[in-house]
Symmetry: C2
Subunit: 199 residues, 2 copies
C-alpha cells in the first residue's frame, strides 16, 4: 500500500510557499508521508505559453490572493515580494540535491522564509549559504555540486517526470494517477488518498 | 453598509456550475445577498490570450478537477461534458435579461443542470425554451429580446465593468475593491466580507 504522496514543486512558485509551510503537518495527521520533488516548472510554462508575466492582470490578482491566504494561514508575507526569482535555477538545483538525500523540506522552508518574510530571493548567495550552514552542510561543496552537469540532469529528469504526469503548475500533489494542482487542493488530495489507499 | 456581494459569471465556465448550485445558500448563512452578473468572459480571455483550449494539458486537468469536486459537493456531472458551449452567447444574453429582473439564478441553475446532469449545452433551443417556460416566461418573446442590440449592449457593459474590476475568470466574487476568483474562493470571499462589512 502506497502511503507516500509526491509533491512536485518549484522554488519560484508563489503558492508553493503555503505547501512548504503547512503540507507536511496536514499529511502527517492522515498518516501520509510526503516526498518533495523539485522540477523546472519554468520550462513547462514556457512550453505551454503559460508564463505568468504574460498576463499582468492575472498575476496581480494572484499576488493579492496569496497575500490574503498568507494571512488566513498565519504566515508572514512582506510586500512587495521579489518576483520572479532564481533566474539561473541554482536554488532549485540545490533542492534537487537535497531531494536525493533527506533535507529538501528544511531547505525549502528556510529559502521560502527568507523570500516571503525577509524579502531575500531564494537564489541569494548569502541566504543559500546561511541555509546550508544551518543544515550542517558545507556551502561551497554543495553549490559546486549544484552546478555540476549531473545535477542539471537530475532536475531535467524530474521535469520530464512531471511533464509525463500532466503537471503544468506548482505545487502539484500526486497520488497514483491523480494529480492535484495548487496548495488549495491539498485537502482534496489528502481526502482522495484516504479514500483510495492503494493509489 | 454593503451586504450584497456581486458574482460575475459566464454560462460556459465549468467552475461557475459549483457557484450557481451552492453559493446562494452559503452566503445566506452569513446574511449576505448575492447579485448575479453575467458577462462575456470569452472576450476577456481572448484579450489576455488566456483561452483554455490553447493549453490542452491544463484543460484536461481542469475537467478532471471539476469531476472530483462535483463528487465532493454531491452534484451530478455526466461525462463527457459538452464543451465549449454557447458559441453565440445567446444563453448569456438571456441571463443578462434575467439579471435585469430577478430570475437570473433560477435560470442559471436550470441551464447548468441541463448541461452537467443531462449533457445538453446551455444554448440548446429546447433547453432554453423549457427553462423559460418553467420560469413563467414566454420563450419567443425573451429570445427575441435577447437578440436585440440593447441586450448585446448590456452584456458588453457588464463585461466592461468586469474588466475594470480586474476580473479575468469566472466565477468571481466581488466585495468592495476585493475580487475572489473561482468557486473555491467562495469561503475566502465570505470570510473577507464578514471581516470587512463596509466593503
Amino acid at each position: 500500500m502506497n502511503r507516500t504522496m509526491d509533491v512536485f514543486f518549484f522554488i519560484g512558485s508563489v503558492f508553493t510557499y503555503f505547501a512548504v509551510m503547512r503540507a507536511e503537518q496536514a499529511a502527517a495527521r492522515d498518516g501520509i508521508a510526503l516526498r518533495w520533488r523539485p522540477f523546472n516548472l519554468r520550462a513547462i510554462l514556457k512550453e505551454q505559453n503559460n508564463v505568468p508575466r504574460n498576463n499582468p492582470v492575472k498575476l496581480a490578482y494572484s499576488m493579492r490572493d496569496a497575500v490574503r491566504r498568507a494571512a488566513r494561514h498565519g504566515l508572514p508575507f512582506r510586500e512587495p515580494l521579489p518576483y520572479p526569482v532564481d533566474p539561473g535555477l541554482r536554488a532549485n538545483r540545490v533542492a534537487s540535491l537535497a531531494a536525493a538525500e533527506d533535507w529538501c523540506l528544511p531547505l525549502a522552508r528556510s529559502l521560502y522564509t527568507g523570500w516571503f518574510r525577509d524579502s531575500i530571493p531564494p537564489h541569494d548567495p548569502g541566504l543559500l549559504s546561511a541555509t546550508l550552514l544551518q543544515l550542517g552542510k558545507v556551502p561551497d561543496a554543495i553549490l559546486t555540486q549544484a552546478d555540476a552537469p549531473s545535477t542539471h540532469e537530475r532536475l531535467a529528469a524530474e521535469t520530464d517526470a512531471a511533464r509525463a504526469l500532466g503537471i503544468f503548475g506548482a505545487p502539484t500533489f500526486v497520488w497514483g494517477n491523480e494529480i492535484f494542482w495548487g496548495d488549495d487542493r491539498l485537502e482534496d488530495a489528502l481526502a482522495w488518498a484516504k479514500a483510495h489507499p492503494d493509489g
